[in-house]
Structures are given as structure tokens and as C-alpha cells.
Subunit: 186 residues, 2 copies
DNA sequence: TAGTAATTTCTGTAATTACAGAACTCATTA
DNA sequence: TAATGAGTTCTGTAATTACAGAAATTACTA
């Protein structure tokens, strides 16, 4: 009988859950998923589906599907609670780790398919001698760009978080390090 | 009387437009908008709304709204064509520039609102002495993270494209430059 | 093996979003 | 000032997506 989440501190916390929920809209995640994620992110102990359902007032089935999606993004994971048959879930709370999981998911869902789609186009273009050279060039540039970004993403995902943090904190100072090679640009 | 786009090379090009259109779905852009963007991206000369409408078979009104949205993202711009009263549009074709415009838009629409939403929560949390310290900590970490990313984004947006390109091409090699400070991480 | 709790999948409905076509506005020219 | 062309806004419908509740499945317990 897991203790139901104490709601006495609901205000700031539940406000966070609500905000996060409809920001999900902007981010392309539906409200239920985003709310559940927020709730788990702020929960100090793992929650089961039933608790989440009651806490957020959303249907049990919806919770089930949303949890599946969050697990798919690796933003939450199943936590076995000894002596309790029900599945419990808790969220990744390291924000950097979280960001990297999301980045990984986006790479797979957004960039990779784009690259392969453009590859198809370029293949077909190769069979069209009459294609306008400028059109071909633009497709190629897009392809090259996406490939660069993809590779970069892939590399960054394997960089330890602390280094990433450092890198970002340095921000554009990093640029000066490169300026040794000092080409004029734009 | 602007010459209508020659469709003889339609296949690879129109395939690109179609692909791009439904990849828009993944990226959170609707099909019409994405298709129009793709079409303009591959067009060597500016197009007017009527041409776009006919070429893609979408309603004139829809084209009008979509163009407005693309202009809002600064991915296309109005091009006055001398001797033609109609408005013509052409897309940014520099892929780096394009990416930066999108990044800028996302920063404004996704990150900035998130930061201010969390600020609200933290403000409210400050008035709740009973709040669980761990909950507070997590909110703060999220806030700090988003702020770091936001600042970083802001700085990167002002870096010349060629440097960005270089930076990405170097990828994780950049990390080694920092390793001088050589902390062990994770 | 029957019974029950937990979870998932299915089915229909509600809500949202995308879109076409019509109506309208504004500018231009006759 | 009427007539025409371009562009936008409005209105209703279609398509999609989100979701609740029911039915079905799976896992455990007696």
C-alpha cells in the first residue's frame, strides 16, 4: 500500500505539472504524456499507474499508453517495488541526461528519416539528366547539412554530461579557440 | 506573366516536396506549410501565391496563411517582381542560415516560455515553506539547465555560419581542447 | 484451476487542427 | 466611381489526434 502522494504541497508542484503539460503542445508531445512526465520528474518516490491516474485525473488506459511512450523515449523507467505487484515508474532526474535522451529520440525520429528521404530523392535525381543543376545542388547541400548535424549529434551524445555542460557554459568562447585557424567568414 | 514552373523535372523535385511535406508532421509543421517551404527552397525563381496553389493543388487561402507562417519564421521572404503586382516569395537557400532561423524560432517558442513558466513556479514555491526540498531542487535544476541552453543558443545564433560549420565538423574533437582542464566526469 | 488484480488493447466520442471555398477588403486602373 | 485583380479573413467540413470507458489479456494468488 504505497503512500499516496502528499498533495499539501500541491500548488507550486501542480502548477509545474500543468505548465509542463501544455508546453508539451509546443514541443510536440501531448498533454497527458507531458503531465505524467512532469509529475514523475518531481516525485521523490516511484509512482504506479493508478496513482498517476488519480493524481492527474486522466484515464487509466491513457496513463498506460503515455507511460509506454515515455519509456520509449527513455525518460522514465520501470521500478520494481518490493512487496508490490504493481509496476512503478520513476523519471530520469538528471536534466542533462534527460536532454540527451530527448536529443537521441529527435535524431532518430526527425533527422535520420529526413536524411534517408533526401537520399531517395538524390538517387532519383541522378536518373534525370534534365534536372536543373541548381535544384540538384540545393538538395545536395541539404543532404550534406543534415549529415553533418547527424554526425555531430551522434558524437555529442557520447560526450560525458559534465563536459557538455562546460562546453555550453563556455558558449561562444569556444569559438575563439578555433580562431587560431582564423579564416574570415560570411 | 511569370512563366509557370517547368514540371518536366517534376519527379525528384516533387518527391522532395512530398517527403518534406509529411516530414513536417514529425517536425511539428503542417503539411501545407512544409510543402510550400520545400517548393520554394527548390525554386530557382520566386513564385507567387497563385503558382504555389496550382503547383501543389492546395487552396489559395491555405497558401496565404502558410506563407504568412513561413514569413514569420523568416524562412521565406517577399520578393517584389518588377512589373508584376502580385507578391512573390522565395526561400532562404543557405541551409545554415535556414537552420539558424529555425533554431531562433524554437528558442522563442519553446525554450523562452518554458523558462518563464518555471520562474513562476519557483516564485510560488518560495512562498511554500512546506515544499519538499528535493522538489524545489529539481525545479531549480531544470531552470538552470534551460537557462544555460538558452544562453548558449543565443550565443550560437550570432556565430558566423562558417565557424559553426567548422565547429560541428570538428565534433567531439572540440572536447579534447577542453580536456586540458581534464576533470574526470560522470 | 478458479479467482482476482494489474495492465494493455480496442472502440467510440470529443476536441483539435487542417483545409477548401466563399465572402470580404484593399488597391489599382479604367 | 465601377470594375478587376490580389490578398486576407471567415465559415463550415474533413481529417486527425487525444482520450475515456469497456473488453480482453496477462500475471499472480488461493
Amino acid at each position: 500500500m504505497t503512500e499516496i502522494l502528499d498533495i499539501s504541497d500541491a500548488s507550486a508542484k501542480s502548477q509545474f505539472v500543468l505548465y509542463w503539460g501544455d508546453m508539451g503542445g509546443q514541443w510536440g508531445v501531448n498533454r497527458s504524456v507531458a503531465q505524467i512526465h512532469a509529475l514523475l520528474f518531481l516525485s521523490v518516490s516511484p509512482l504506479n499507474a493508478e496513482q498517476i491516474s488519480r493524481e492527474l485525473g486522466i484515464a487509466r488506459s491513457n496513463v498506460s499508453n503515455s507511460l509506454k511512450e515515455l519509456v520509449g523515449w527513455k525518460l522514465i523507467r520501470r521500478i520494481p517495488v518490493p512487496g508490490d505487484r504493481r509496476e512503478h515508474f520513476s523519471a530520469e532526474t538528471d536534466v542533462w541526461e534527460m536532454a540527451m535522451r530527448i536529443a537521441q529520440g529527435r535524431k532518430e525520429r526527425e533527422i535520420d528519416p529526413a536524411i534517408s528521404a533526401i537520399s531517395d530523392c538524390l538517387e532519383k535525381a541522378a536518373t534525370e539528366p534534365e534536372i536543373h543543376p541548381e535544384v540538384l545542388k540545393r538538395m545536395q547541400e541539404m543532404q550534406a547539412f543534415l549529415t553533418t548535424v547527424d554526425t555531430w549529434y551522434g558524437q555529442m551524445l557520447n560526450v560525458p554530461k559534465s563536459k557538455l555542460n562546460l562546453l555550453m557554459k563556455m558558449g561562444n568562447k569556444v569559438i575563439s579557440l578555433l580562431t587560431l585557424t582564423g579564416k574570415k567568414s560570411e
